[in-house]
């Protein structure tokens, strides 16, 4: 099977809807099938990376806590849109200690251009 490059753009904040969790599931499933995955966080999706999430009282599982599991699936780093962080006044200090690459819009465009498939969540 040819190895393909797939980009997943996660744009929603966690907990208000299930898109963040669905995207994570798709990313992990794709990695299990040994495809090259670019996990990209843009817009409100960067809020999934915020540290100190404690969603037990709203009966949700922490999205942030699930992200370190990606390493086990061979996903070494995530891509984070720098402009989305800036729009929200977030620095990397506010985020979880994950391996992440901050991307300019040019770099995001390059990731999408080199991908065989792109999915937005």
């Amino acid at each position: 099977m040819n190895r393909k490059q797939l980009s997943f753009i996660s744009r929603q904040a966690p907990y208000g809807n299930s898109r963040a969790a669905s995207c994570l599931d798709m990313v992990l499933a794709t990695a299990v099938f040994d495809q090259q995955v670019n996990y990209i966080f843009m817009d409100d999706g960067v809020y999934q990376l915020h540290k100190d999430q404690a969603p037990a009282a709203i009966h949700c599982k922490s999205v942030g806590a699930a992200l370190p599991a990606m390493e086990l699936y061979g996903i070494e780093k995530i891509f984070v849109d720098a402009e989305s962080l800036a729009q929200r006044g977030l620095s990397t200090e506010a985020l979880l200690p994950l391996q992440m690459q901050l991307c300019s819009s040019d770099e995001i465009r390059a990731l999408l251009a080199q991908s065989d498939h792109v999915f937005t969540f």
Partner: protein, 100 residues
């Protein structure tokens, strides 16, 4: 050379601006469903699309335009395609990126 599709009205401003930010030269953008409201002459719409990369083709799904009574209001830089044309576009582009 991707075909981008978007189906929400421009009142979802962040969706539209993020989609536009990912366009590269040679891409195409197709407005579907409520997104056709971004193609009509209504105040700020023309400015939204002023700064695109060269050679980005702009399309609107004609059936959705007609459904909403907007035939006469489409701005001139948008090209109408019907459902068959939509299929053509999807076939011509190596990948489709749907924004929703």
């Amino acid at each position: 050379m991707a075909l981008h599709t978007i189906n929400k009205s421009p009142q979802h401003a962040q969706l539209l601006s993020t989609c536009l930010r990912t366009l590269t030269a040679g891409d195409a953008l197709l407005l579907l469903q409520d997104a056709v409201y971004a193609g009509i002459d209504s105040g700020g719409n023309a400015a939204l699309f002023a700064d695109l990369p060269v050679d980005v083709k702009l399309y609107v799904l004609h059936e959705d335009l007609l459904a909403r009574g907007l035939e006469e209001k489409l701005l001139p830089h948008w090209e109408r395609v019907d459902y068959a044309g939509f299929v053509e576009l999807a076939c011509q582009h190596p990948k489709t990126i749907s924004w929703y």
